[in-house]
Symmetry: C2
Subunit: 346 residues, 2 copies
């Protein structure tokens, strides 16, 4: 294998080139065997690189003038796949010029471009967007799909479970506990598709996961489950409800702490505690949503991520590349298929 | 109108009779024109009443031996509608013996019994479960459906919007801001049913609400919206994600505050601030989910609610009864129907 290389869309994100380059430089210090392909405006990239000699020496610049807009409709952006920094970063993966691409640009456009250029891998019908969230315990939890597919049938959900488990194993280094997201209202519990997916995952042997039915959304962050599988609509709602509530509670806390002199003093004294909380909940420490199920690794960095957040997203890409994510998914898919061929169900 | 009366299922809930009676007594102190029908084991109710003379004087006891189990399947509980405390409380509303029923028992059973006994009100196809949540601002936000219907079409969603708006107006005393819950992933934004419901609500005139499209789940608690409308699956996921995350963050905070002597001291000093936060997030202060769309008011108190929580749920029932919730819903339904008849859409 040649030196692994990561393509960075240097133009995406609210802060643009400077933050993307600084983030890549920070990631490079952690993964010093990686090379980088920096895609975007050469002059601005060169200016940003001046402060990061460690990255400069191991990077190639691919110049382009065009950038995908944040509000651009994906189908429209798709037509400029060959001229934009986002399109060229993804295309580098397709051409084998890079093993993974990282972009902080328009999510819908990145998804559309990645799907078209890289295609779904054998055995996967639809790619899914997966993110990592903190839990009460040390280990993080992965949730997917988060919006790549508004709806998902039982077959899609089973594939999402396999992809999420492969991703989780790379992070955790052990067999992950996988659950389907469901609601608990007695009789009307779930849909047929959830029941069917649960049955298939329960009966499958040889899958490298510990599947055990359902989880409700109030248990996602308890540290009792490693992978939460759902359709893109429910997943997006759960993810944003979690993000929004974490912000809501910390905003309330801030308001409470500044409500009196006494509480301000208490805040200062207990600062190490609140800093710990802030660190644990800081989205930059979990930045980098992954498009799973494509022939190549594509990671979406949040538009508002700091350089530290970008570094985290690049590190995610590097880890998935090192661990051969795609091969791991294929192994589980084969296990499922050989079972289906051995004992065909309806 | 005769003296309004509220039927209390005294047997439901984790804590049983004592908490239910104490809660009713607390609510009675706030709404002293209300009468109560206490349904359940007479001996235990009498014992609990001994401590609450204010409630005793204005209550009638309806004795029964049978109780719906917490894990009981709704269809099974339904067969004992005429013998259980839950069934008899709901039945009192049907018979006109009470204007509203409050139970802390099995949600699915309460929903099934209420639907069967009270039937959906004219113009409503399906009842919905609505709950109130805190926001960053002073006003609370209402969300529905939370699990009465796993799926909902455009027509259901429009009816949910009307029911939620009527409920919200009673709490807020002003025209509520109503939004449909959706995800923001550019191209694939929402389903047809969301688009259709939005179009109908946007075009309707004479509705007593301020409808303006969609809200994402990270904005539910920002205080920018008063009613969030969705299907029961998504609503249940959003509600529990919010509840779970609020608990998650406060658990992290507790862990952080006890991580060192210094932060423990800071915690003590800033106690008023954290108490404020606790008060704001305490589910007891928002207890009482309402089944909207039935011919009568039914309120579900949380199984683990304190007496203060039960009092809140009983107060919700009293308010909805006083404000004639059902009439308000009918008025908006008529506005919608007269428009539909004037200018029929497909």
């Amino acid at each position: 294998m040649t030196t692994p290389r990561i393509a960075i869309d240097a133009m995406g994100g609210d802060e643009g080139v400077r933050v993307m380059i600084e983030g890549a430089a920070e990631a490079r210090r952690r993964h010093d065997q990686f090379q980088f392909l920096l895609v975007g405006d050469e002059t601005r990239i060169q200016a940003a690189l001046a402060e990061h000699p460690n990255l400069r020496g191991t990077s190639e610049i691919l110049h382009c003038d065009d950038v995908v807009g944040g509000d651009e409709i994906p189908t429209q952006a798709l037509r400029r796949a060959k001229t934009t920094s986002m399109g060229l970063a993804v295309n580098a993966v397709k051409q084998g010029n890079a093993g993974a691409a990282v972009s902080a640009g328009n999510t819908g456009a990145l998804m559309a471009m990645s799907k078209l250029a890289l295609r779904t891998m054998p055995g996967i019908d639809r790619p899914a967007l997966a993110a990592v969230m903190p839990t009460l315990e040390d280990d993080d939890v992965i949730m997917l799909d988060l919006g790549a597919n508004t709806e998902a049938d039982a077959r899609n959900l089973v594939q999402f479970a396999i992809m999420g488990a492969a991703y989780s194993r790379i992070i955790l280094g052990r067999k992950p506990r996988v659950r389907l997201l469901n609601i608990g209202t007695e009789e009307i519990k779930g849909f047929d598709r959830l029941r069917d997916a649960a049955a298939e995952l329960q009966e499958a042997t040889g899958l490298d996961m510990d599947f055990d039915g359902y989880v409700e959304s109030d248990k996602i962050n308890r540290g009792e489950v490693d992978v939460v599988v759902t359709d893109g609509f429910s997943g997006n709602i759960a993810l944003k409800a979690i993000e929004g509530t974490a912000r809501f509670v910390t905003d309330l806390l801030r308001a409470a702490f500044t409500s009196s002199i006494r509480s301000k003093v208490g805040f200062l004294v207990s600062r190490p505690a609140t800093e710990l909380l802030k660190h644990h909940l800081d989205p930059n420490n979990h930045n980098g949503a992954v498009f799973l199920g494509l022939n190549g690794v594509v990671v979406k960095s949040h538009g508002s991520a700091t350089a530290g957040g970008v570094a985290h997203a690049v590190t995610v890409a590097a880890k998935l590349l090192e661990a051969n994510l795609t091969d791991r998914i294929t192994a589980d898919l084969n296990a499922l298929q050989s079972r289906a061929q051995g004992a065909p169900t309806e």
